[in-house]
Assembly symmetry: C2
Homo-oligomer: 619 residues x 2
């Protein structure tokens, strides 16, 4: 793994996303993007949800070595319930500097905060704590503005969809956000030591979110690459990032990512704890784990994956599985439980962990360490035994007003997906569900972003609040930059398909604007409204590179001969010019005279029209 | 468009598909592929459905200039109900040699049959005709053997799934195939003039099939490319091909494809008819269309897309749509209806068309010319008005024992997909449904193989018999070779996900074999069992190129530190060595003594194990 001697290695992608302009809305200056359409089109600009942070703002000054501005700094301090403490001393083992192949390292982040925040003794700084006391925080107001995107145009839209019992309001008020957080149905993950983050909500009654995983491994990648991947992933729409780094330099890698991340960041603390004991699961202790939580809490991690549901009695339930335990965190705890033949210390010490979480407002992402790793193991006894324990732990966390979401599978055939959602809602009191896919078949390694995108869209429709992306490299290797983009865009479209099916009031705005652009041959508008304008234009140009082809009423699928959408225009003109309604047509069928008349009328109304565009579908 | 002077331009991909061997099963020598797994694994070879024809058989001699051997020749002639006639003379207009930009052309296929087959006067040679008279044809026997793939291992599998009323048998007999064809619930498209085709069935109670579209357009591609694309598409799993060529040389292009296609080929005859009248829809006549049907019937086209449901009174129903009419065939007929203000000649002459179909055993693919072209237009009045007309036409075709399938949308949000399936089953008497996607959102051009793969998997689960693929270039350009492969593999995995969810008895065989290979670090087996072994291995090698990494119990996701599946092995060994069942574990929790004993037992049973493999999922 290469060191990072020079700043130049830390190059990230900046600048406006093609065809869109960064805007900041309302008193809190909520970041969004606005896509302006062809002046002649008479179309209003389309506002889209934006996760890309300052990186896509041409006016922002980006300095990776300094980190992002602290958007939430004043909000946090104004509440008067935090105190500054000296950051825990970084130790060699925090970066895995022990044992074999532990030499080398990366340049520490140059702008580390020496003083960090913590709740005053006895205080609770979680958003849930405030919400339950009727306090509407700036974070909640920010979320309300962000989620209301496009709802101004609601009047144009008739709501339809099937939300399977979700309660998506026509308009999101700060009070609605507060209520959802108070009852645990949504979370706003934002550690007080991560003031760089732009608040967002994860909950069944908000837009479906997606997470992208990045991170070093002992065999590949480096910090520069991971920071670049983080910026790249949020550029294309990742709502949160998980740093799954293993191997060396975990602490320093995370510092670079935290200080430059405008989205919530999650981790799996057990990975780093394991590094601290040289990779021997049996040697893990509560003390080492607890120390790791504090270390990461002070760095600003927004949510922790904790596999506290992997209980000793459930471990043997996995013995008959085809793929046993596929979660790394789950397998580490299973090994610990077997080695000591003791109940998991994560389960036993759960309330003490919660005490730590509430002092920084870290949200739980209760890990499904026993999730199925294959179609064969889906929805089995081990999986659901753990899920019900996660439900029990959810209620215990809520007793201390700590935010919780629940992780879900994995590998599940389509007919078994809904059962996962139904059981989760019932067992976990509607705490947000956060699923990995699920993959709907095991036979397509190399295409698992798609096998899982299918399951993700479906479970998102059923009620999952956040979808964890899967890249084409799943099961095969570590994703590179291109894989990250493909994974993010795939999950973005799956999440949007879910919003449409749930009947999210404004989801259709973008689909309809793009469809109108397509129908009217506004190629540039079609590219700009898409999730990936660069790829859309590139594909178009592979067939018709000429600049003219982007404006001509002529398309690459059918050439200058066939017409479909233009004929529709003709149908409209014709229907408009003759006043007979549908019944008129029906009657006319039997009236030769009427036919002749109408035929003549047609011939007078632009019979000869330029034929061009066609949507090349299968016929 | 380039001519094809030299044979060398007609290069197609041949040779065994990586990791598999071509086999021919039973008296009819039904082609399948067999994937042999690592000798040490104790795993039986896995047989997979194979659409690639002789091209993937190293023992076959391939000569594109001569065409494929006539597998069904003797079966057809043995029935004694056909006669040889002289093929209709090819005219310049058959290749669009008139009007502007009509010069040039391609080399005619050198091995054209001068004599073609037709039913004897008054005879009906459709598989449905035979089926309804209790005759089991070799085609039906071939299909039974082909569909039974893997069912020999049924005993190992417990069936589950939700088939939404389909009736998938444990074992497919020739008699079952006959019954399904007789009642119109399945079709076996195989024109008597396409004896090169390997029989396959399209029906809700058989494996879900996929179609790939190819074809020239006036603006791009050439014959050599299209033949190569056809061979490439079936190599990766396309069950049928549609030749959607437009522009020049339609006749010759089709001849090259027909003579070299081992799968059924479909067309949209109205495209060629339109070329014959210089692209002026209004100038189309029944006589020109009829002549085109004969021309294509004699070449061996196996199914015709006929847009006979686009009736005059339905046309104005599309006027208020966001994207009007997106089907090219549909828009051509709509224009014709408006121009003459007459009912569609396809609807009026439907029974005469059926007369032609039964003389060659061509199946109807009743086109959905009014399908929605956007989320906004899904499930509207125009779409369903046409669907009910297609149901009426289905019954009229069945009166003459002609096989029928029904085309479906298109663009449909997830919550509106099932209504399409339910209405189709009801309106069309369970005739096979053949859908394009549907796309579940409009905002991801460049990724529409995925937006539609989601809808395809779902509607396949609900009962669609064949899924028409969509490539990444949909709406943007013409698919190249790589796009064709991505489209085919995406739809193959969607169809398989549907088979799993429907509870197809043997669908899990391949998933489980691959999952066991993954669990046991048999990398080669994992690659070979996948839908695309080349891509799976390539992705693996991008992270760990070393040859050793393909055999080592070590993976690229977690490196030599983390372990998940190996820990499961440990769990198994442990569970096996101690005889206490789950209850034992539960009790033990409260028994310190028991714990110590079990802990000691654990330490005696291989505590130190090699840590390597991990399925890098999100934690």
């Amino acid at each position: 793994m290469a060191d990072i001697p020079a700043k130049t290695e830390l190059a990230v992608t900046t600048g406006a996303i093609r065809g869109s302009k960064k805007i900041h809305v309302g008193p809190l200056k909520v970041a969004m993007r606005e896509i302006h359409l062809e002046p002649g089109s008479g179309e209003a600009p389309v506002r889209v949800y934006d996760t890309s942070g300052p990186y896509s703002d041409p006016d922002a000054r980006i300095d990776i070595m300094a980190g992002l501005p602290e958007l939430r700094r004043d909000w946090i301090r104004a509440r008067g319930d935090v105190e500054e403490v000296t950051q825990r001393e970084v130790r060699p083992e925090d970066n895995g500097q022990l044992g074999p192949d532990r030499s080398g390292g990366v340049q520490p982040f140059p702008n580390v905060r020496k003083r960090v925040l913590r709740a005053k003794p006895g205080a609770n700084v979680s958003q849930m704590y405030y919400a339950r006391r009727g306090i509407i925080t700036p974070e909640m107001e920010y979320v309300a503005e962000r989620e209301n995107l496009g709802r101004a145009r609601l009047a144009e839209y008739e709501r339809d969809g099937n939300s399977f019992g979700a309660a998506i309001p026509d308009y999101v008020t700060p009070e609605f956000v507060r209520e959802e957080v108070a009852r645990g149905r949504a979370i706003i993950p934002n550690n007080i030591n991560h003031p760089e983050s732009e608040p967002m909500a994860i909950g069944r009654n908000f837009l479906v979110k997606i997470n992208a995983n990045i991170g070093n491994s002992a065999v590949a990648s480096n910090v520069a690459q991971e920071v670049d991947k983080m910026v790249w992933a949020i550029r294309w729409g990742a709502d949160t990032i998980m740093d799954l780094s293993t191997g060396r330099n975990i602490h320093d890698t995370r510092e670079w990512i935290m200080r430059n991340a405008p989205v919530p960041v999650g981790t799996v603390p057990i990975y780093q704890a394991l590094e601290k004991v040289g990779g021997i699961a049996e040697d893990l202790t509560w003390e080492i784990f607890r120390d790791t939580l504090i270390e990461q809490a002070e760095q600003g991690v927004d949510y922790f994956t904790i596999h506290a549901g992997v209980r000793l009695p459930y471990v043997p339930l996995t013995a008959k599985r085809v793929t046993g335990i596929v979660s790394r965190g789950g397998s580490i705890m299973a090994k610990w439980c077997l080695a000591h033949h003791k109940e998991s210390f994560l389960y036993e010490k759960f309330d003490e962990i919660t005490e730590i979480m509430k002092a920084y407002d870290i949200a739980y992402s209760l890990g499904d360490g026993l999730r199925p790793g294959s179609i064969a193991d889906a929805n089995d006894e081990a999986q659901f035994a753990e899920l019900y324990t996660l439900g029990e732990l959810t209620k215990r966390a809520w007793e201390q007003d700590v935010q919780v979401m629940i992780e879900g599978p994995g590998h599940v055939p389509m007919h078994k997906i809904k059962e996962n959602m139904d059981k989760q809602l019932e067992a976990c009191g509607e705490a947000p569900f956060y699923t990995l896919g699920p993959l709907t078949t095991d036979i397509a390694p190399g295409y698992d972003h798609i096998t899982s995108g299918i399951g993700a869209a479906m479970i998102g429709w059923y009620g999952t609040a956040m979808l964890c992306y899967v890249t084409p490299k799943e099961h095969l290797g570590l994703p590179d930059r291109d894989d990250v983009k493909v994974g993010v865009v795939t999950y973005k479209l799956a999440a949007h398909a879910a919003d449409l099916a749930k009947g999210h009031p404004a989801a259709k705005v973008r689909d309809d604007a793009l469809s109108r652009a397509r129908f009217e041959f506004r190629w540039r508008d079609q590219f700009n409204l898409s999730l990936d304008p660069d790829t859309a234009e590139k594909y178009h140009d592979q067939t018709l590179p000429a600049e003219g082809a982007k404006t001509a009423h002529f398309c690459s699928m059918c050439g200058p001969k066939f017409c479909s959408m233009k004929i529709t225009q003709e149908v409209r003109d014709f229907a408009a010019k003759q006043n007979a309604p549908v019944e008129g047509f029906l009657a006319a069928e039997d009236a030769e005279a009427g036919m002749a008349a109408m035929s003549q009328l047609y011939n007078e109304t632009g019979r000869e029209l330029y034929m061009g565009q066609g949507d090349r579908e299968h016929d």
